[in-house]
Symmetry: C2
Subunit: 145 residues, 2 copies
DNA sequence: ATTAAAATTGAAAATCAATTTCAATTAGAG
DNA sequence: CTCTAATTGAAATTGATTTTCAATTTTAAT
């Protein structure tokens, strides 16, 4: 945690930006979230603790955090983006149930291997990937939906 | 083409909806597009041929076509959705260059195999998947960006 | 072919996530 | 501490998508 904040300060400074309380507060809050999150969720958490962080700052900081690789936009649901902390986390895919909207994570090294292979074959410089599988989860499937 | 239209009519009827000129016209136009497309592109094509199809109808028909499996939303760029015809097309992934925004398709049966495997393991009912890889294409990479 | 009910349409308004504007505030170099 | 440029929150704006609604069209039943 402390180390991540220090790293983030370095990242911000290197870009010639200012390391503000708001930016640190937002990153701290995000690091405390275990699940996926969206802007509303974050904003709600700040309101709860009487922090007056604005949505504008949340959006602005989220962009920086994505750019720095601290978080990733992982999927879109209900017309808006959902994020997750990606530090120390293996890339993984998301299975999204279109009925109950549950999101399950699946990590598979073979998939990462395939993607690395495409990268080399085509001489890409890979930054990130998103794999979303849509369908019905085991439970919803049983409801014969 | 004729067969697809007939099939679409059956689909529409089965849902208790009406097979309108607009719905047929939209599907016909989409079937004539080889690339990925978005709502603007479609709307522009109709304006060009003096067809007065509205955006509202385009959006409404696109939903039906996705539901019927005729097209898929394949990626999002510049804040809006991009689609492609998926009939008779193997699922495939998209490599998106974040610099020149070029989109390349990669089809790999091994990937489809992996996904089928997850489906069976977890007892999902798979409907569709989206795999997007973000990075720099060969050309943009050379510019040392 | 007529008729009538229900679905669909286009245009305009509404919604809503995300971005931008701008005056007031803050970070941080000197 | 002082000064300047960057940042902030609030409000306005943008832009994609959805909704509303009166007029039109489809289609099943006469
Ligand atoms: Mn995840
Ligand atoms: Mn494609
Ligand atoms: Zn489910
Ligand atoms: Zn490129």
């Amino acid at each position: 945690m402390e180390e991540i904040l220090r790293e983030f300060k370095r990242f911000i400074k290197k870009k010639g930006l200012k390391y503000t309380q708001e930016r640190e507060e937002i990153l701290k809050e995000i690091l405390s979230i275990k699940d996926h999150f969206d802007v509303e969720e974050l904003y709600f958490r700040f309101k709860e603790k009487n922090s007056k962080i604005s949505k504008a700052s949340i959006y602005r900081t989220l962009s920086l955090l994505v750019e720095g690789g601290y978080i990733q936009e992982v999927y879109r649901q209900d017309g808006h983006s959902h994020y997750e902390v990606t530090l120390h986390k293996t890339p993984h895919l998301h299975f999204i149930c279109i009925h109950c909207r549950e999101v399950q994570e699946i990590t598979d090294e073979r998939l990462n291997g395939l993607i690395k292979e495409y990268e080399e074959e085509r001489e890409y410089k890979l930054l990130t990937y998103h794999l979303e599988i849509f369908g019905l989860c085991k439970a919803c499937r049983r409801l014969k939906l």
